[in-house]
Every structure is written in structure tokens, then in C-alpha cells.
């Protein structure tokens, strides 16, 4: 790698962290540490809200998702503008005016202390599980660039993020996030330019779009043909509009990692405007990243690609295998290369035919290449004795081999900064909820100095927790899906208990935590019983769970509201 790339990789993150800590130094008291003194302007909070959601996974995993599945992932974000308007008219004014430190403080005022504590514990579990994934994604890049062991990369990123969050608090988090988004937008733009510029002569942007479309990579809107598919297919318009609204109401309205961003706003108007930044920018940003993945798929029709994107690992594993296994692997490799060569010829013929070209031969060639890639991946998993996949390695493999000097350094720096700025917000919110919702409940007479000190210790604890859990997330599947499935199991129920508080005045005291526990139990039942492997159904030729993860948000939320209302009715009939 060129020295200029190295300079960018080191200098950009160092500048971002140093400048953010410097800006945060004026916030020394408890409110300053946890909420940046409630003094931040809307555009900075808005960027921070986006950056908290846009981790390194966003760039690595979503681009790779676009390569494998096209634009379908975009469905997840379609409901965002609608959810943000609901939040701006409900929870945002209440939280901001009430001057709470955590979202769950409301639950104690509305129901009772056990409801607040249970909500906080559910948040800590869900965010605690997801936090490790923020570290795993950049460790892939460092592993590919330097050959650095992933454990070392995880330790390095976790250590740096925890250190500046401990010293700078929420202000450092927000100022890091603003810079992250600028670098990230630059990285996405440059990568798009590089993939289009890397296409062979005679294949332009319009041809690439036609090839991606013929390869089923440009389906941004999918209408389910029947009710069964609306539930089972993870990405369709019905699930997106119903499940998606509940997902974002829960994520932005009841997840402390997001609520804490807009609690730092200097007024209610600033808080509301900050959420609308995501409403307008999130879908275009995700579209650009997914399109990048789809275009990388087209790029590899013309440029040789390994069947498994963990090529270095594959060679090492094949070298250690028996002679028979090596021979089988070499045969598979030859078949794959022949199929890829054949597909290149078909793709060139498709471009040469212009409009009205028959997509069927290209689709058959894609299918053949896909089958051989699946076989190669299965062989690698068997030989390496792992369940890990290579989905998250696709985008890193592309940019390491194809980005020009300077842009490569910028993109890698963007991934590192994205990892840190997503992790810092999570550590900050986990520490805040641990201390304000649990520690202060146990020790209500604790002075502000002690609470501030405990918040720093809690940040250190969660930093260590994130680092350790990052070692175990690789086997869960493609990162971006893992994070959203875990989140969806909790967000619906968490938002449901807030909704219960507003919609049902008769629900009070213990109704809150019983309803919350019931909603979460309903979601867990769906995940572990209804969606168990024997119940899987066939969608698009693949066996999938009968209930897609976006629906978990609806099940959890509706479960809490229904149980809460029933409890209130029972009490009324008894009295």
C-alpha cells in the first residue's frame, strides 16, 4: 500500500478523535459528560443520529449485501420519514422538555420503578449484544490490509473508542460523529466513482445498470404476491411499511443510544430538526451504498474474482488439507474460473445487443457461478471447521484491489472512524443507562461527582464487554442482519410500553413491567418457537422462517399494549 494511504489511515482518525476531545473539554459536570450540556445544534445532533446508526457495518456489510442480494435491503429504511414525523410530534418534545437523562426515566414517572429497571435491563442486553458487531467489521479490514490478527484489531479499536468516550463523554461522541459522516459520504462517492471507472472499455454506466438489472440486483420495491410472503419474506413493501415504522419508533424513541443523541440538543426545535436530517438523508445514503454493491457485482463479471472472498484463508486451509481434498478443491476452482469466463462472454454479448437483449443466458450464467461459489464456500467452511461466511469480505476485497492511491486510504479511514463513532455512542448510552437507571436506583443519595465517576467506570466496563463479545459475533451471520434481528426482538416491546403509557391512562404501576415482559416473551416465542427450523417455509426457492424479523417489532409492541390494556380492564372490573 502507498505511503499516502498510510498517512490518511493514521492521520484522519487521530485528528477526528483529538479534535473531538478538545471540543468536549468544556463539558466537565455530570450533565456536560452525559448530555453535552444540552447545548448542541440540530445539524450536529442530526449527523450524530445518523452516524450512531451508520457504523463500519453500514459500509462493509451493506455494500456486500448489495452484491449478493441487490437493493432489497433498502426496504428496511422506507418507513423512516413516517416514523420520524410520529416521533417529532410525540416522544421528542416530551423527553426534551422533561429534561430526563434516559428515556426510561419516563417509565418510572408513568408506571413504577420496576418498569424503568426492566426497560433499562432489556436495553442493556440488546445493545450489549449488538455492540460487539461494531468492532468486528473493521477488524476484517485490518486483517485484510495488514494481515493483523482480528483479535488485535478488535482490542485496538475497542481501546481507543472507550478511552476518548471516558474522557470526552457525549460531546466527544457527537463531534466525532459529525466528522465521521463527512468522511463517510466522501468514501461512498469515491468508491462509486472507482467501480464505474473500473468497468472495461465499451461498458458504460448505463450498460452496468442494465447488467445489474438483468441479474436481479436492482429491485428496490418488492410487492409480496400473498399474505404468507408478506410475513415470511424479509424485504417487501408491506413488512417495510408496517414493521419498519415500529422498528424505527422503537429504535429512535426507546433505544437510549439514539435518545441520548437528541437529548443533547439545545431546544425542542433543535431535537425535532435533528431527527428530520435522517428522514431526508438516510434512504439516499443507503441507496448509494447498495447500488455500489450491485455495481461491484457487475464489475466482477469482467474482472476475475475468487470464489471465496477470504482468498488468503482459502489458500492456507487448502494447503493444510489432504491431497484428495486439495485435488477436489482445484477441480472446483477450475470449474469456477471456466464458468466466470463464460459469463464474461455472455455479459459482453448482452451489452453488445443493446436494448432488447435477452437476459436469460446471463441469468443462467449467474446461477452457475453462484452454485460454484456456494460449493466453494461450503468446502472452505468444512475444511476450516467454521460456520463463518465471506459475505462481509466482498466490499473490502474490492476496494483493496481496485481503489486508487489516496482514495483507498480515505475509505479505510472512513471505516475505522465509522466503527469508533458508532461504538462510542453505544458505550456512552450503555454507561448512562447503567448508572442513571440502575446504580442511582440502588444508591439514590449518591452525589453528582460520584455519579460522574461511576459513568466513566461504566464506560470502561462496556468497552471491555464490547471487545470480548466481538470475538464471538462472527459466527452469527452477515453483520447487518444480525444487528437488526437482535434489535427487532427488543425495540417493539420497549416502544410498546411508552405507547401504553400514552394510549391507556388506566394502565398504571405494575401493569407497565408485566406488559413489557409479556411483549418481549411474545417476540422471543416467535423467534425461538414459531421461527424454529422445522417450521421454515419456501420463498424464492429458499427455506426461510415464516415470520420476517421486521414483524418482531409489531408483535412486541402490540403484545405490550394488549396485555397492558387487559390488566387495566381486569383491575377496573375488580374494583
Amino acid at each position: 500500500m502507498h505511503w499516502l494511504d498510510w498517512v490518511l489511515i493514521v492521520a484522519l482518525p487521530v485528528y477526528v478523535v483529538a479534535d473531538s476531545v478538545r471540543r468536549a473539554s468544556q463539558h466537565k459536570d455530570l450533565e456536560g459528560f452525559l448530555l453535552a450540556g444540552r447545548s448542541v445544534r440540530w445539524w450536529a445532533v442530526g449527523m450524530s443520529v445518523m452516524a450512531t446508526q451508520a457504523s463500519a457495518i453500514t459500509m462493509i456489510s451493506i455494500a456486500s449485501h448489495g452484491y449478493e442480494h441487490g437493493l432489497r435491503w433498502l426496504h428496511v429504511y422506507l418507513a423512516l420519514p413516517f416514523a420520524m414525523v410520529i416521533l417529532c410530534t410525540t416522544v421528542v418534545p416530551w423527553f426534551t422538555r422533561a429534561r430526563v437523562f434516559t428515556a426510561y426515566e419516563y417509565l418510572e414517572r408513568r408506571f413504577n420503578a420496576p418498569t424503568r429497571v426492566l426497560a433499562s435491563i432489556l436495553f442493556l442486553i440488546s445493545r450489549g449484544i449488538a455492540v460487539g458487531t461494531s468492532l468486528y467489521a473493521p477488524s476484517i479490514v485490518l486483517n485484510l490490509v495488514l494481515g493483523t490478527p482480528q483479535w488485535l484489531a478488535i482490542l485496538l479499536m475497542g481501546g481507543v473508542s472507550a478511552a476518548y468516550t471516558i474522557f470526552g463523554g457525549n460531546a466527544a461522541v457527537i463531534f466525532t460523529d459529525v466528522k465521521q459522516m463527512v468522511v463517510m459520504f466522501l468514501g461512498i462517492g469515491c468508491s462509486l466513482w472507482a467501480v464505474i471507472a473500473g468497468l472495461p472499455e465499451g461498458v458504460g454506466f448505463h450498460d452496468a445498470m442494465a447488467l445489474a438489472g438483468a441479474s436481479n440486483r436492482l429491485e428496490a420495491i418488492h410487492l409480496p404476491p400473498d399474505v404468507g410472503e408478506a410475513f415470511a419474506d424479509r424485504y417487501n413493501l408491506v413488512a417495510a411499511m408496517v414493521g419498519g415504522v415500529f422498528l424505527f419508533l422503537g429504535y429512535f424513541g426507546a433505544d437510549q443510544s439514539q435518545v441520548q443523541r437528541y437529548l443533547a440538543s439545545k431546544s425542542v426545535d433543535h431535537a425535532k430538526a435533528s431527527l428530520l436530517v435522517s428522514a431526508f438523508l438516510k434512504v439516499p445514503m443507503q441507496f448509494a451504498i447498495l447500488l455500489l454493491g450491485a455495481l461491484i457485482y457487475v464489475f466482477y463479471m469482467f474482472t476475475p474474482a475468487p470464489p471465496v472472498f477470504r482468498a488468503g484463508d482459502m489458500e492456507r486451509v487448502a494447503a493444510a488439507a489432504t491431497a484428495e481434498e486439495r485435488a477436489a478443491w482445484n477441480t472446483l476452482l477450475q470449474d469456477y474460473r471456466a464458468a466466470a469466463d463464460r459469463r464474461r462472454e455472455i455479459a459482453l454479448a448482452f451489452v453488445g445487443d443493446g436494448e432488447g437483449a435477452d437476459p436469460a443466458p446471463l441469468q443462467q450464467a449467474n446461477e452457475r457461478v453462484g452454485e460454484l461459489r456456494d460449493a466453494a464456500l461450503a468446502t472452505w467452511q468444512r475444511l476450516a471447521q467454521t460456520k463463518e461466511k465471506d459475505g462481509d469480505f466482498i466490499f473490502p476485497h474490492f476496494f483493496l484491489a481496485n481503489l486508487p492511491i489516496g482514495i483507498l486510504g480515505l475509505v479505510i479511514a472512513a471505516i475505522f472512524i465509522a466503527a469508533m463513532s458508532s461504538l462510542d455512542a453505544q458505550l456512552n448510552s450503555l454507561a448512562t443507562s447503567s448508572v442513571m437507571d440502575l446504580y442511582v436506583k440502588v444508591k439514590p443519595q449518591a452525589p453528582p461527582d460520584e455519579i460522574l465517576r461511576m459513568s466513566r467506570w461504566a464506560t470502561l466496563f462496556w468497552g471491555a464487554f464490547a471487545t470480548v463479545s466481538a470475538f464471538y459475533v462472527a459466527e452469527l451471520g452477515q453483520m447487518i442482519e444480525v444487528v437488526n434481528v437482535i434489535g427487532s426482538m427488543f425495540y417493539g416491546s420497549l416502544f410498546g410500553v411508552f405507547l401504553l403509557g400514552w394510549l391507556c391512562p388506566a394502565a398504571r404501576t405494575h401493569d407497565g413491567w408485566i406488559a413489557l415482559a409479556s411483549g418481549f416473551a411474545a417476540t422471543a416465542f416467535t423467534e425461538f418457537v414459531v421461527n424454529a427450523e422445522p417450521n421454515h417455509v419456501l420463498v424464492d426457492g429458499k427455506l426461510v422462517p415464516p415470520v420476517g424479523f421486521l414483524w418482531y417489532n409489531v408483535i412486541g409492541c402490540v403484545g405490550v399494549v394488549v396485555v397492558g390494556n387487559v390488566l387495566a380492564l381486569l383491575r377496573r372490573s375488580r374494583s
Binding site: 436492482l218 428496490a220 420495491i221 413493501l237 431546544s267 425542542v268 425535532k272 428522514a279 431526508f280
Partner: protein, 36 residues
């Protein structure tokens, strides 16, 4: 944005946001029909 914004202005902003959401879906629908 130091003074509080008139609620009527906020209502217009909300309507614009909702319209943007609907328009986004319409454009993506068109995009899918043309390219996929």
C-alpha cells in the same frame, strides 16, 4: 433556530417530510420498473 418555531411551520415541515417519504417510494417503484 434560537427562537421557538411557529407550530404552523412545523406542520408544513411534517407534511413535506411525509410527502418526501411517499415520493421516495414512488421514485424507487419507477426505478425498479425501468431497471430491474
Amino acid at each position: 433556530m434560537n427562537e421557538e418555531i411557529d407550530p404552523r411551520v412545523w406542520r408544513r415541515i411534517y407534511v413535506a417530510t411525509l410527502a418526501y417519504g411517499v415520493l421516495t417510494i414512488a421514485v424507487l417503484w419507477w426505478f425498479t420498473a425501468v431497471f430491474d
